[in-house]
Symmetry: C2
Subunit: 146 residues, 2 copies
Amino acid sequence: MKQLEKMYNLIKTKGLKLTPARKIMMEVFLNSGNKLLNASEIYDQVREKNSKTNFSTIYRNLELLVDHGIIEKLHLGVEAQYMLLDEDSCRHHMICTVCHKIEPLPYCPLKELENYIRDEHNFIPTQHRVEIYGYCKKCSEHKKDK
Amino acid sequence: MKQLEKMYNLIKTKGLKLTPARKIMMEVFLNSGNKLLNASEIYDQVREKNSKTNFSTIYRNLELLVDHGIIEKLHLGVEAQYMLLDEDSCRHHMICTVCHKIEPLPYCPLKELENYIRDEHNFIPTQHRVEIYGYCKKCSEHKKDK
DNA sequence: GTTGTTGCAAACAGTTTGCACTTAA
DNA sequence: TTAAGTGCAAACTGTTTGCAACAAC
């Protein structure tokens, strides 16, 4: 598995030790299909492979990985969620209002908007976030059934 | 104060009782200058006028006001934040990362994006929210001084 | 061997809840 | 009068921390 090796190297490059917990966490992220994961989902998946990993280890590593720009932390609800940091990711998500699944949206419509804001509102944009709420495929199909 | 009376009526219209805590909370929101407030900011301000109001009262009323469409709840960080719900709000905000002032943005660029999402992602958008982070006029001027 | 990392237990912050008392309508 | 609202205390959830043991380098 090539991508995993890359991740391992990335961690070492950052001066972090390549511990079992971190290895497994990288696997979890790679296997997540780019879905946002919360701490306890990550914890559960890590525990499947290493049954005595502690929650504090998870949280400490998550923070570290965020600090080193390896993953991204979003805070859209009660709990924080995490995903591998995509180079050109600019934080756009589709959030299902039924099952609460969050999917990233690989497209950014905001370039022109930012220019407009800068010019017309005297506001200098540095970051943005877009959230689209609605029904994901599965939930919209279930809706039809009723 | 006309606006406050309106708010009082709105609460009654919704079938809610006009209690002292609720009256003060509406004042707090009206005096907030459309800034997002978290529960403890609201609590502190309510306590100034009614020193024995409890946190659970604040939380219970916040939830109720959200449910009745009087205020809006955002969850951008560790804690939830609240503001009066704007009639024509389609939830676009410019958020200054220095002074945390939040200004509404009277323009919606998302029509085409929603079509794209519906067609390409099997996701049915019903609502959306856009947040632009950056420096407001005042803070960007102060930055220059340094 | 040294420094960074972990497990554990305990603390913490924000929020929610059950229950008896109180109050707006 | 009575359903709705409140205060209090206690619980609960997500997250953080101090410390001693441990493991990657």
